[in-house]
Symmetry: C2
DNA sequence: GACTCAATTATGTGCATACATAACAACATC
DNA sequence: GATGTTGTTATGTATGCACATAATTGAGTC
C-alpha cells in the first residue's frame, strides 16, 4: 500500500523523508507539481496527501511561498467528550444518576465570566451525581442560561441528566474545555464521599449555541481518575 | 461564502440541516450524487464536504449503505503538546531549565508497565524543573529507554532539556497521554516549592518509536495550572 | 431453508484540466 | 525612498470522468 500513486502512499513517502531527515525541519520541500512528477502521480493526489499532513501539523503551507517541514512538530492529543452515561457504560458498569439540587439563581462571578454573561442573568443551577454500579462516579455542577434555553425552566431533571437533555435539545456551535486539579470542596466531598481537600480532576466546559452562551458545567471526577488518549504525531 | 458550490458552503449547508433537525440523528441522508444535483455542484465537492464531517464525527459513512447523521455527536477537544519552552515563552515569560538528577537505573513497575518493558531494562532517569521567569513552572520526571536511544547515555542534559533533545533526535511514531490530579509528592513539593499533598495536575506521556518504546515522562504542573482548549463539535 | 455467487449501488479514489487566490518580486511612479 | 501596480508562482479548489471497493440485494442452486 506504499504505492506513490495513492494519496496514502504519497503521504507515507513524505512522512518517511521527514523522519529520515532527508527533509529537515524548517526546510522547503519541492512544489506539488515537482513531487507529482517525481512520484508519478497527479498533482491532486499530492495535494491531498500534503493537505492532511498540514492539518496534522507536520508541515506548514503558504501560498506562493511553498511548503516547509514544521519546525516544532507539536503532537496532539484528541480527547473525546462522550455522554457521561456512555462513558460509564463503556467500563461495563451500570449507570446511575441522581439530582441533588435544582434552583434558579444568578451565576457566581467565575461562571458569568466564563460565559461572558452579566451576573444578573437568569440561570438554572443543577447539581447532580453520576453513579457507576451505585458508587459515585462524578459530580456535575451545571449552570444553564435560561435566555438561551427557555425550555430548561419547565424541565425536571430528576430522570434524565442535563448532559443528555441538552445534547438532544440544543444545537451546539462551539465550546471550550479547561482541565485542572483542584482540592475537593465541601460539596464535592459530601457527594463523592471523599475527604475534603483530596485532589480531584475537574473538567470545566463552556458551550455556546449559534448566538448565545448555553451552559457552563464543572465535572469533578473521583480521586485517581485518569483521562487517557492516544497522541497523534 | 455560503455558496453551495464550494465545499465549505456545502459543509455549512449540511451542518445547518443537521442542527435544524431537518436530518435527524441516525437518519440516512441523500447520496452524494443526489446532493450534488440538488445543490448544483459536482459530486467531488460534496464528497470533500462530507468526508471532513465524517472525520469530525458528525456523520457516519459506509459504502453502499450510505451516509447517516451520527447518533451521538461526541465533541472533541484537541490538546496541543508543544515544547515546554514554547509553552512558557508563549505566556511572555523568560524560560529557564535546571537538571536536578540524572542516573541510570531500572524503571519502577509503573514505568515499565506503561512502556511494556521488563523491569530489568536499562533506562536513564532524569528529573528536571522548567522555570518561568525564574519561578518553578513544572517538574519533569523522565525515563528514557537506552536500548531505543543509545545516544542518550552519552548526552549531558544540563544545557538542553530532554524534551527538546528527544524531539530533535528520535522519530516518534505514536504515544499515549494520561491526565490526572495527584497529591503533590515529596520530590514535587521540594522542586516546585509547594506544600506536600497539594493537588497537582500531572500529564503522563508514553511514546514509542517505529519499533521500541522510547520514553515515559511525567509532568507535574504548578498548583492551579489549567489546560485550556477549544472544543470542536 | 441455507448456501453460493453475481448484480447493484454508494462511497472512495485517481486524473487532467481549469481557474481562483494569496503572496512575493520586480518594476514603475510620485 | 515610499508607494502603488503588475506579473509570477505555489497552493487551493471545482469539475467531469473513470474505475476501485465494500456491502447489500436478490437470484439461483443444493
Amino acid at each position: 500500500m506504499s504505492d506513490t500513486n495513492t494519496w496514502q502512499g504519497v503521504q507515507e513517502e513524505v512522512r518517511r523523508r521527514i523522519r529520515s531527515r532527508e527533509w529537515k525541519p524548517g526546510e522547503l520541500i519541492p512544489t506539488e507539481s515537482d513531487l507529482a512528477c517525481e512520484l508519478g502521480c497527479a498533482r491532486t493526489t499530492v495535494n491531498r496527501a500534503l493537505r492532511e499532513l498540514a492539518g496534522a501539523g507536520l508541515i506548514e503551507r503558504r501560498r506562493k511561498s511553498g511548503t516547509r517541514v514544521a519546525r516544532h512538530p507539536t503532537g496532539r492529543a484528541v480527547i473525546e467528550i462522550p455522554l457521561i452515561r456512555r462513558e460509564v457504560e463503556a467500563t461495563g458498569a451500570r449507570y446511575g444518576y441522581a439530582l441533588l439540587s435544582r434552583q434558579i439563581a444568578p451565576p457566581p462571578a467565575r461562571v458569568a465570566y466564563a460565559l461572558g454573561l452579566p451576573e444578573t442573568a437568569r440561570m438554572l443551577h443543577l447539581v447532580a451525581v453520576h453513579l457507576a454500579d451505585g458508587a459515585p462516579y462524578l459530580l456535575e455542577d451545571r449552570w444553564i442560561n435560561l435566555a438561551a434555553v427557555p425550555g430548561a425552566e419547565a424541565h425536571d431533571f430528576t430522570g434524565q441528566s442535563a448532559n443528555e437533555w441538552l445534547l438532544e435539545t440544543v444545537p451546539v456551535a462551539r465550546g471550550e474545555l479547561a482541565i485542572a486539579a483542584q482540592p475537593c470542596g465541601e460539596m464535592e466531598a459530601r457527594a463523592l464521599d471523599v475527604a475534603e481537600g483530596t485532589p480531584v480532576l475537574t473538567l470545566e466546559r463552556s458551550t455556546w449555541g449559534p448566538e448565545a452562551p448555553v451552559t457552563f458545567v464543572r465535572l469533578s471526577h473521583m480521586p485517581g481518575h485518569r483521562i487517557v488518549s492516544p497522541i497523534a504525531g
